[in-house]
């Protein structure tokens, strides 16, 4: 009996350790680089105008080249951004299942599949011929490979360029190259016009809050680059630790006294009012002027075509709230 008890305790300890690690990972911002995502390379010749594209195609994802033998008709997407991209390029009706956090578009076939703790058997249950993920907790891609299902790892973009590349990769992989190029072109034009239309004076500083324990994001992250595009000065850049998501000291934020505050955590109970209740924050310029913008957490954490909305939202808010100097 004693042995069994001890063994159980050991197993529990191991289980707990593992659980802890995965638990921690899900909260951490994606740090993996997607710079390896190259341009789309198709082995077959690419017809430029028609929808009929020839398979097999070879595309490059974050881990290397992936060959897709035939046009996929049962796509499983475990990434809300990939879901959004697939529907934007007209591959929506080839998608059979998306994960629990793929809330856009409305008609996406949402299931209880998890992108953070994916279960290989549950995924295979949908008999996919292509699986798209943004995060591999380990062995997911190789597991799919052993059962002959091709998969694409399209991690958190580090720049708009990464975002465009991922859309093109999905276009090539699903037989929608032309539409993908159109979506990318439209995004480029919309972002340029949103930036050009914004009336933002020089030297406007801001603080973007990722969560209530003062994690922020620097200009090296995807979100940070959106702000930089609009010519805003990020107070978190002084704390860049290479991750792109440093935790700032409260006294630093107060002393830096940014002109604007963006809240990426309004969906988790942080409000403009609750900021003024934080010790020492009440006297901050942005709090006094109510120059605080709550960001939709979907927009603040995805890098799909709707990033245009994010750019417009920030540009409008800045134009409206910028203090008169």
């Amino acid at each position: 009996m004693r042995r069994i008890a001890l063994l159980t305790a050991l197993l529990l300890a191991i289980a707990a350790c593992n659980g802890d690690e995965t638990g921690a990972t899900t909260t951490l911002p994606e740090a993996s680089s997607s710079t390896t995502v190259g341009g789309t390379t198709t082995t077959a010749s690419v017809p430029s105008t028609t929808e009929v594209e020839s398979f097999p195609v070879t595309v490059t994802d974050a881990t290397g080249e992936v060959t897709i033998e035939a046009e996929p008709h049962s796509i499983v997407s475990l990434s809300s951004t990939a879901t959004e991209m697939l529907f934007a390029i007209g591959a929506g009706d080839q998608v059979v299942a998306v994960d629990e956090f793929s809330t856009y578009p409305e008609e996406a076939p949402r299931t209880d599949l998890s992108g953070f703790t994916p279960n290989l058997e549950a995924i295979i249950g949908y008999q996919p011929d292509l699986v798209v993920i943004s995060f591999d907790p380990g062995e997911l891609q190789s597991g799919l490979e052993t059962v002959g299902v091709p998969s694409l790892l399209l991690p958190t973009a580090l720049s708009l360029g990464d975002s465009y590349t991922q859309i093109e990769v999905l276009g090539a992989a699903t037989g929608h190259i032309g539409e993908a190029a159109e979506v990318v072109g439209q995004m480029r034009r919309d972002i340029v016009s949103a930036v050009a239309g914004a009336d933002i004076p020089d030297g406007i500083s801001f603080y973007h809050e990722v969560d209530g324990t003062l994690y922020s994001t620097t200009s090296s992250s995807f979100l940070g680059q959106i702000y930089a595009l609009l010519g805003l000065e990020n107070i978190a850049d002084a704390a860049d630790d290479g991750s792109g998501f440093p935790q700032l000291a409260s006294e630093y934020i107060v002393a830096a006294d940014p002109d604007l505050i963006f809240l990426g955590d309004v969906d988790f109970g942080v409000t403009p009012e609750s900021l003024s209740e934080r010790p020492g924050w009440e006297g901050m310029t942005a709090v006094q002027n109510q120059a605080i913008v709550g960001l939709d957490s979907y927009l603040a954490s995805n890098w799909g075509p709707r990033v245009v909305e994010l750019v417009e939202l920030i540009a409008d808010a800045v134009s409206e709230l910028t203090p008169v100097r």
Partner: protein, 346 residues
Amino acid sequence: MKAGLAPGLAAPRIGARRWLSAVLLVLLVMVAGLLIGSVALPTTGVVGAMLDRLPLVTVEHGLTPTQLDVLFEIRAPRLVMGAMVGAILAVAGAGYQGVFRNPLADPYLLGVAAGAGLGATLIIGLGAGTGWIPPFAFAGGLASVVLTYALSRTVGGRTTTSLILAGVAVAAFATAIQTFLLQRNNDTLREVYSWILGRLTTIGWSEVGLLLPYAVVATVALMVHRRHLDVLALGDEESAALGVDVARVRLLVVGAATLATAAAVAVSGLIGFVGIIVPHTVRLVTGWSYRVIIPLSLAYGAVFLMLADLGARTLVAPAELPIGVVTAFVGAPFFLLVLRSMRGSS
């Protein structure tokens, strides 16, 4: 003292010098903690502003309102919280070590911290106010320590290892349930994640006020019973013969130490390594008596955590390091150093 008693039993008292140096060190680290931070404040201004706060004293300090906010609303409460958490975690560790007559007893190894964490997670998940976190953390911590003790008795008698193994199992079990809850409720329990790693980043005076009553009660209870812990060291039968109600003392000390741990965990998250390092360092320097270990652990626990937090908020400024990382990183080598130097000198 009568002949025949071991010299150590000759009523060990804290000498005036030891008291004075401990208090001075606490004050010194406090002043350093107020002066140093990720935002540079002028030293004369800080000293002036502090004097200005004294009744009947007016000093021209020249600090801006923002600098005053940084000093009195952000830096000061964080410093006080660090001191309180460090003091009560250290004294709780000393209390457990005395009661269980076990040098490895510690809020973490006994599963108390994990149990308190589970209690806090449950109540945060249910959406109750922050005032409810300490009592629930206490309930979780108490349940864990009782379970640990009961398990160790049924499994392997009262050896050092069986208690610690039971504690590890209970901690693992509590952590497993906690992780399960977190996985199930990704949205509502998001804040628990950062709290698990230990946080002093967003501490204000209201959190200090939340912790204070628990800290006072637990500290007073442990201070009152520190003599009994010395008697317990002789063994249960001897203690009973000397007129000590062993069961009652044990219950009170475990209750107080658990209350202290739970309150600290509830407010500042899981900060490890304090409860074992501080009492042992004190013990190595001053000897075995809990009459000395308990009060000095309070002082040096405060010093240790204030210094660790100083590291957490300045090493990568203006970013922050998790304080649990600093306590382990600084604490482990320091402890080994103390251990070695004591070996060499004895």
